[in-house]
């Protein structure tokens, strides 16, 4: 909850900064002052977006607003055409793409990790294997000092505490990444629970949003849950080392998340990076995407508006933006992914003519 308050305050601060820096920007670029971009969606990349959006406003004077309303909300806002672009952690399936009012393209913006966060004082560096993850999150292991967990974590004293699983009570792209990973490592999970933005949970209790889950875990001894990495690092919540497909226990870090994206990426960039084959990869990693309409001339949008949109998104793929990712514990996109994103942006049109060269 503390985090929620921080974020709200942050939003105020950002909007305040936006308006002041815009005044400065008036002098620098008189052209951009008329155009403001509105976006909404995933909360998972929000710490990163808040930062880079602000620095773009400083640089160009273009006003940017981002509403962290969840991936589903981002998709719905784009469907309703009330934003310039949406943001989501779960890419749109072929089925969903077909249902959108017009052709939509995805561009990945940054790499992030979903961490297994827990609250066990004195038990840092917990190692969780596939089997343990399945048993803990299916509710088959209920105590932290269960011999199965102890056997995997020699040298760590585990308390006689009940395991409290905290999941999201709202629909979420973070849940999608987590459940996608669980479905890959556990057939039992895949059959009984499956993957999705919201699920029928076998056990546990819900809290709203990444900040809500992080706050509940921080306040509750014996709690465990999955959250976007920055939310755990910012509040100094313990995170577990997770077993990857090569059998190594990997700590979530910028290097291990980057390693997950080393493989081949399809041209439309729609790929889940969970359970990567790379031996150094953190297995619950993923892209987060920005989605926009391929044809930008809709609802009376001006060409200038469209041009500012794609110019900004193109800047997001530049090394200037990507190099800021590490400050908030996200990993920059691999070169190949950024190149593909730039290529996609060059297919975005206004009245049939491409906007960027």
């Amino acid at each position: 909850m503390k985090n929620l308050v921080t974020i709200i305050l942050l939003l105020f601060v950002i909007s305040a900064c936006n308006s002041t820096s815009n005044k400065k920007g008036d002098k620098k670029s008189a052209k951009a002052k008329k155009v403001a971009l509105t976006a909404a969606g995933a909360t998972f990349p929000m710490p990163y977006y808040n930062m880079v959006f602000k620095s773009y406003t400083k640089k160009t004077g273009t006003l940017l607003t981002y509403g962290g309303i969840g991936s589903g909300g981002g998709i719905r806002s784009l469907t309703d055409k009330i934003v310039d672009f949406g943001a989501t952690d779960a890419y749109l399936s072929d089925d969903k793409l077909a249902k959108m009012p017009a052709k939509v393209v995805h561009i990945p913006t940054v790499l992030g990790a979903v961490v297994i966060a827990y609250n066990l004082p004195g038990a840092d560096g917990l190692k969780l294997s596939d089997l343990l993850l399945e048993k803990i999150f299916m509710g088959e292991i209920t105590k932290w000092n269960d011999p199965l967990i102890q056997k995997n974590n020699e040298g760590i004293t585990l308390p006689d505490l009940k395991i409290t699983f905290v999941h999201r009570s709202d629909g979420s792209g973070t849940t999608f990444i987590f459940s996608d990973f669980m479905s890959k490592i556990s057939t039992k999970w895949a059959e009984k629970v499956g993957r999705g933005k919201s699920l029928q949970w076998p056990v546990g209790m819900g809290a709203k949003g990444n900040p809500g889950v992080a706050g509940t875990i921080k306040q509750t001894k014996g709690a465990v849950g999955y959250i976007g990495s920055e939310y755990a690092f910012a509040q100094k919540i313990q995170t577990a080392k997770v077993q990857n497909s090569s059998g190594n226990y990997i700590e979530p870090s910028i290097e291990s998340v980057s390693a997950a994206a080393k493989g081949e990426i399809p041209n439309d960039t729609r790929i889940m990076l969970t359970n990567s084959a790379d031996p150094a990869a953190y297995p619950i990693s993923g892209f987060t995407w920005i989605i926009l309409y391929k044809e930008q001339a809709y609802d009376g949008r001006s060409k200038e508006q469209a041009l500012v949109t794609v110019t900004f998104l193109d800047w997001l793929e530049s090394s200037e933006a990507q190099s800021q990712a590490e400050k908030v514990h996200y990993a920059p996109l691999p070169k190949a992914a950024a190149e593909k994103a730039k290529a996609i942006l060059r297919t975005v049109t206004f009245n049939g003519k491409t906007l960027l060269k």
Binding site: R76, S169, Q200, G204
Partner: protein
Amino acid sequence: MNTDKITKAVLQFSSLIILLVAGGMIFSLVEGAVPAFKEFGFKFIFSNNWNPTEGKENFGALPFIAGTLITSVTALLISLPLSFSASLFLSEYYRRTRMAKVLGMMVDLLAGIPSIVYGLWGFYVLRPVLIDLGLPNQGFGIFTASIILAIMIIPYATSLSNEIISMVPNELKEGAYSLGATKLEVITHVIVPSARSGIVAGYILSFGRAHGETMAVTMLIGNANIIPNGLFSTGNTMASVIANQFGEAEGLKLSSLIAIGLLLFLITGIINTIGKFIIKKMA
């Protein structure tokens, strides 16, 4: 022009707007809920299976109906002795004293605290205490939510009963005293019988308030979409599931959430009707 006519027109116009808004709300609730009822029929009300996973979608409202009713009833039971005592204290025993003034002010203050503040207090203060007392589920659940709800409805129940009890004619009370009745006898034989319809109405209003309460409950009930299997189990209420899942919902899920809203509306309506009926019978 006749000022009377203007007044009448303004009044008619305002009333019409209220009527339109209420009607529009009912209409859009019903319209939004139709797909869910078409898909699941009456099973929607009696099924406890709430599965939003794509491809396996199945929605049943029973866990939330149960959660709502259990928390509201428990809250009412917890608040009843407290608020009834407080209203007697204010209106009979310490009438027009400084003590009553202070207590009355505190009660009014409770009514003014926003829901989210109750939730925060429950999360950071009440929950740790309950964990120390050995409550399971880390202090989350029906019981914790009910305590917070009870505190939230105390001001309503108290000030309403207080008003009603103050309105009992003095002649009646004086008559009883002159016959040698004690204070307690006056309360049980004179005040309660003549004020009971008002008191009951106060509690029904409070019950209605407990039904729709969202934020504080969401923060404390545990948000598990199951039928609670006891007072200390986690659960979820109708208002809380809507607040939690509305943002991401689409298609059938969105319709199911609207249908839950409609059910909440109906249940509150039924309870209010029962309340009015009781008042009529007793008066």
